[in-house]
Amino acid sequence: MSSVPRFWRNIGVRYNLEGTRCKECEEYFYPPRNVCVNCRRMGELEPYKFKGTGEIVSYTLIHTAAKGFEDQAPYTLAIIKLDEGPCLTSQVIGDIDKIQIGTRVKSVFRKLGEDGERGMIYYGTKFVPLDP
């Protein structure tokens, strides 16, 4: 974790999966974008809160942790395609043997990581498998 203000600035986005939707082309964006990648200047973006369900596009079990995540290793990182369309990168918690490409998941609120120097603990969204 590198920057306190940078994290807290986006706290609503991180806690509540708040993104945007373009009224013009109807594409959803997470994290929120202020410029639509399809319509650019002609697009009109409005806030949108994602439902928090989706499926795993791909995943890995990270053994050599990123800085600030050492105490969580090994941890499962995944690219998740939300049901509304956009993909994001997030940790998936629980038994890695229970997940595969295509596994349905839902968002949960959890500790993300910590900044050792400042003693800060960060919370945000992770995902868990939806029961079959």
């Binding site: 791909s58 995943y59 890995t60 050599t64 800085k67 956009p86 990168t89 490409i101 945000g124």
Partner: protein, 407 residues
């Protein structure tokens, strides 16, 4: 290519207004952990070596371009362009303009592209393009964190992503969709170590086996430590001149046939398909169009194998293997020296080493060495056309050059 709006008309529009450019001098330093050398030491060694190789003199040099990803993080030094111009003896009396270029691991390739455009446009005649990174002054944790800055810090890094982790997700989906195996990934590392044994500057000059890769520690499943390129110190440089006067400085000028660059989303998760680097596909399309060549015409290629899976994706994206067949093609030996399309004769990023800012320039130095016929035991016989492919981050920047023995 559905979903991609490639501006394939773009290079031909541009090519008419440019003049031809040649490479007239090249030099790599040794790649590895160079504890005794500073960044300025290695860039000056590479720069002076390239200038000597070309027979130009300092007062002929119109401009310097330097690829460097993260001097600020690795050696706590910015303003790298000015530093290098100074210690190359080009500042106090000659006041040669120097520009640092940054595009993460594609910084070197992009510095070369800027240098070529400067000569092609007619603005400059003799230009030095260099690339360098001094990565071992910080610990490997700090180096990994600096490299992670090439991804999206807020939306990948803050979720716990690492570079091996991002490429591991590419590998996992490639394996799932196309049946690529861990053994096939390992074959990339085995081949590149075999090539590295033949390259005097390579960081690793020892052969490895598939079992060595598979038994090495897991970094991010399915990637082992031997699937990853190392942390390296090194510098590379080359000298450019307008083609019409290149023979004044070199008996074996090598000509630039194409320069191409493309961008994609900074975050891997925003890509159309994570097993294809669309930036590589589009840049390759632009490059082939500009050179009026096809993949079959290319005799050898240096691709950006920051991870073994990256080489497999690259040979597919550049048109040397059908999509999904990169692993099989590698396993069959088609990318080995003596094979259908030799890939990474230098040893690649995996065995030659990956000083991030230098890599794109080193790739061009290797192709020039091969096209001149000076590559010794790793020589690709009769090579006419060579390609370089340099990638920033997980594929947000791709820079491609095609070089030729004939003008």
């Amino acid at each position: 290519m559905p979903g991609i709006k490639a501006r394939s008309d773009w290079p031909e529009n541009g090519v008419d207004i440019m003049r031809d450019v040649a490479i007239i001098g090249v030099k790599n330093t040794k790649f590895g952990e160079l504890w005794e050398c500073s960044l300025r030491d290695i860039v000056v060694e590479a720069g002076i070596g390239a200038i000597q190789d070309s027979s130009v003199s300092g007062k002929d040099i119109d401009a310097l371009y330097i690829g460097n990803m993260s001097g600020g993080r690795f050696i706590d030094q910015e303003h790298i362009g000015a530093l290098i111009a100074d210690y190359s003896g080009l500042s106090r009396n000659l006041h040669v303009p120097a520009t640092r270029v940054e595009a993460a691991c594609a910084s070197g390739g992009l510095a070369l592209r800027q240098a070529i455009m400067s000569v092609a446009s007619g603005y400059s005649d003799i230009v030095v393009a260099a690339g360098a990174e001094k990565m071992t002054d910080v610990g490997s944790d700090e180096a990994s964190s600096a490299l992670a800055a090439a991804a999206d810090r807020e939306w990948e890094g803050m979720a716990g992503a690492t570079f091996p982790g991002l490429y591991a997700m590419i590998a996992r989906l490639h394996m799932h969709r196309y049946g690529t195996t861990s053994e096939q990934l390992a074959e990339v590392a085995v081949k590149n170590h075999r090539n590295g044994c033949l390259n005097p500057i390579a960081q690793y000059k020892h052969a490895i086996t598939v079992d060595d890769v598979l038994n090495s520690i897991m970094v991010a499943d399915p990637l082992h430590i031997f699937d990853c390129s190392p942390i390296t110190d090194g510098a590379s440089a080359l000298v450019l001149a307008p083609a019409e006067i290149a023979r004044k400085y070199s008996d074996t000028p090598i000509y630039i046939k194409a320069i191409a660059q493309a961008s994609d989303t900074i975050a891997l998760h925003d890509r159309r398909d994570i097993t294809t680097l669309d930036a590589s596909v589009v840049a390759a399309k632009r490059a082939y169009s500009m050179a009026k060549l096809a993949p079959e015409d290319i005799d050898l290629v240096e691709v950006h194998d920051c991870f073994t899976i990256a080489e497999i994706c690259a040979i597919e994206d550049l048109g040397f293997a059908e999509k999904g067949k990169g692993g099989v093609v590698t396993e069959n030996g088609e990318t080995a020296i003596g094979g259908r399309i030799p890939v990474n004769t230098s040893g690649g990023l995996k065995a030659c080493g990956h000083p991030v800012g230098a890599t794109g320039i080193k790739q061009a130095v290797e192709i020039v060495t091969q096209l001149r016929g000076d590559a010794g035991k790793r020589q690709v016989e009769g090579a006419e056309y060579g390609m370089t492919h340099n990638v920033g981050g997980s594929g947000a920047t791709a820079v491609i050059h095609i070089l030729s023995r004939e003008r």
